[in-house]
């Protein structure tokens, strides 16, 4: 059995048939992730010239050692071991550390990890939850097996009749997504940016008042469903987080209100397989989940350490397990692209194309083993399934640290 590292569900029931030519139980996204093992792999390069791995590592170490304010960015597609090595490296060279959630689900993740919002495991969702709410998320596309493995279709300890009678699925989105088509009666379509008004409407419906926003009858219907729920699970995606922006406390209030009535838990829908792992590790180590700087020795966190500032103020950046030039907002990506970049990535990306030094690494889950945190915080360990001569992220980071 192999573990798929295609998304943050870390499916553990993958069966490889005939070496790596066929795979059972891999979703389309996972299969594409698996196939990418053979396409567009990176080679060690220094300033677009082919180099040896040792040479690339030496050059990367030299750039980082000479930098006054280095930045270590990414970590979402790295194992916990590599992330721990990264934190050690940051401490040693006085670098700023930044994960991919800093411009995404940072505030929500912080509230979940620090216990301000109650959370549960996906196994609890499967066994006990009778209402799953997908808000600003479309798991059918982003985490294809979410509904079939945990949130809607499987039979749980307490719900033997599952989706046919005992489970309800609610989708709240700005468009009729693939997931919304499965929620037929409980799909709520919102105009973009009105999630805060929708939250207030739900709270009014829960209080037995007439909601001011949306179709009153349908809002009362939703309020009744949430009131009757015995164990609810909310899966907020980036759609909700981006829409609420500074009003995240509204969501906290809604969850507190729902928790008074019934058990209601939140599991953030993070995309990459170990995004939560990095936030958890950094929280345990420094007390902050993101945007930490070790420039002056001690861990410092604040607006000046945010990715927006760090991308502009750093004088060298090491990018690992992420493709910031494609995913960051254009202004920040452009600022970052002008810096000397070191990219550690198994596959070619916009960042590796623009990087000064490219260090190829083994693909986690296939060529390298390790541990990672699933989106609900459960630790999943995996071994390599094929033999490769590539070095893992962890080994490369250890070598850079040693060279510095």
């Amino acid at each position: 059995m192999a573990v798929c590292t295609g998304c943050s569900l870390l499916c553990e029931d993958i069966e490889l048939v005939g070496g790596t030519s066929h795979a059972k139980n891999l979703c389309r996204k996972g299969w594409a992730h698996f196939q990418s093992l053979y396409t567009e792999r990176t080679k060690p390069t220094i300033e677009d010239q082919d180099a040896t791995l040792d040479g690339a590592i030496a050059k990367a170490s030299e750039i980082l050692a000479n930098a006054k304010k280095p930045l270590l960015y990414g970590w979402s597609n790295s194992t916990l071991e590599a992330q721990a090595a990264g934190i050690e490296l940051a401490k040693k060279i006085g670098a700023a550390l930044e994960g991919t959630t800093s411009l995404g689900q940072c505030t929500l993740m912080e509230q979940v990890l620090t216990g301000k919002i109650p959370s549960c495991t996906l196994d609890d969702v499967r066994n006990y939850a009778d209402t799953s709410v997908f808000w600003g998320a479309d798991p059918s596309n982003s985490h294809p097996r979410h509904l079939s493995r945990f949130s809607y279709y499987p039979r749980g300890e307490k719900h033997q009749k599952s989706y046919e009678e005992e489970r309800s699925c609610v989708a709240i989105d700005v468009r009729k997504s693939s997931t919304a088509t499965l929620c037929s009666n409980y799909f709520y379509r919102l105009p973009p940016g009105t999630d805060d008004q929708f939250i207030e409407s739900i709270m009014a419906a829960l209080d037995g008042k007439i909601p001011k926003f949306g179709d009153k009858k349908r809002m009362i219907e939703l309020g009744t469903l949430l009131r009757k729920t015995e164990y609810g699970a909310l899966f907020p995606g980036r759609g909700l987080v981006y829409s609420l922006q500074e009003k995240m406390d509204l969501l906290q209030k809604l969850i507190a209100k729902l928790s008074e009535i019934t058990a209601f838990k939140v599991v953030p829908m993070v995309e990459h397989y170990n995004t939560r792992g990095f936030n958890q590790l950094l929280l345990d180590e420094t007390g902050f989940i993101n945007s930490v700087s070790f420039h002056d020795g001690a861990a410092v966190h604040g607006p000046m350490q945010s990715m927006i500032e760090a991308a502009r103020s750093c004088d060298a950046a090491l990018v690992i397990g992420s493709d910031p030039l494609s995913s960051l907002p254009f202004g920040i990506a452009r600022a970052l692209a002008k810096k000397p970049l070191i990219a550690i990535d198994p596959r070619r990306s916009l960042t590796t194309d623009a990087a000064k030094v490219v260090i190829p690494s083994a693909m986690c889950g296939f060529e390298a083993g390790g541990t990672a945190l699933r989106m609900d915080g459960v630790k999943i360990a995996f071994d390599s399934v094929i033999k490769g001569d590539m070095q893992s992220d962890e080994q490369i980071l250890a070598r850079i640290k040693e060279a510095i």
């Binding site: 299969w31 059918s140 499987p154």
Partner: protein, 152 residues
């Protein structure tokens, strides 16, 4: 997916009964269920119905790929999410410790399984839609987010 009414509209509608059915509507249903072929209607072979015959051929072409239970899988649309694998009552009965709790099947007794990222159909005889005592189960189609599974 094509309906019996659409097929009926293109048939001669003369109730000649030469196909063995009492009406053209009955033949339309038989064509849909793939119990009869277009060539079984002698009137349709008449040159004056040539255009309608051509249209019917086109209309019924997708049905040729359908399985014995009328199941059609469009692999290009499938997400490989496994909703159908977990929802299918036959799969659940065959693997109560795996399919029923959301895991992928291990054995060979299941009807639906995800392989190489798309759903595959096997053991059709076990499907509740198979045979004379069929039940019009639609667990796999209603749970599909991309309409990759259809029944004739």
């Amino acid at each position: 997916m094509v309906g019996a009414m659409e097929i009926y509209q293109l048939l001669p509608k003369d109730a000649c009964k030469e196909c063995g059915y009492a009406s053209c509507m009955a033949l339309a249903v038989a064509l849909l269920n793939r119990e009869k072929k277009l060539e079984d209607c002698p009137a349709l072979l008449n040159p004056k119905y040539a255009e309608k015959f051509k249209k019917l051929k086109e209309l019924l072409a997708p049905l040729e790929n359908a399985s014995e239970t009328g199941l059609i899988i469009h692999p290009e649309k499938c997400f490989g999410c496994g909703n159908c694998v977990v929802a299918c009552p036959v799969n659940v009965a065959a693997e109560p410790t795996r399919c029923a709790v959301g895991l992928g099947p291990q054995g060979e007794k299941v009807i639906l399984a995800v392989e190489d990222g798309v759903v595959k159909c096997m053991n059709l005889k076990e499907c509740r839609r198979f045979g004379p005592n069929k039940v019009l189960c639609n667990a796999c189609t209603v749970t599909c987010p991309s309409k990759a599974i259809e029944f004739v």
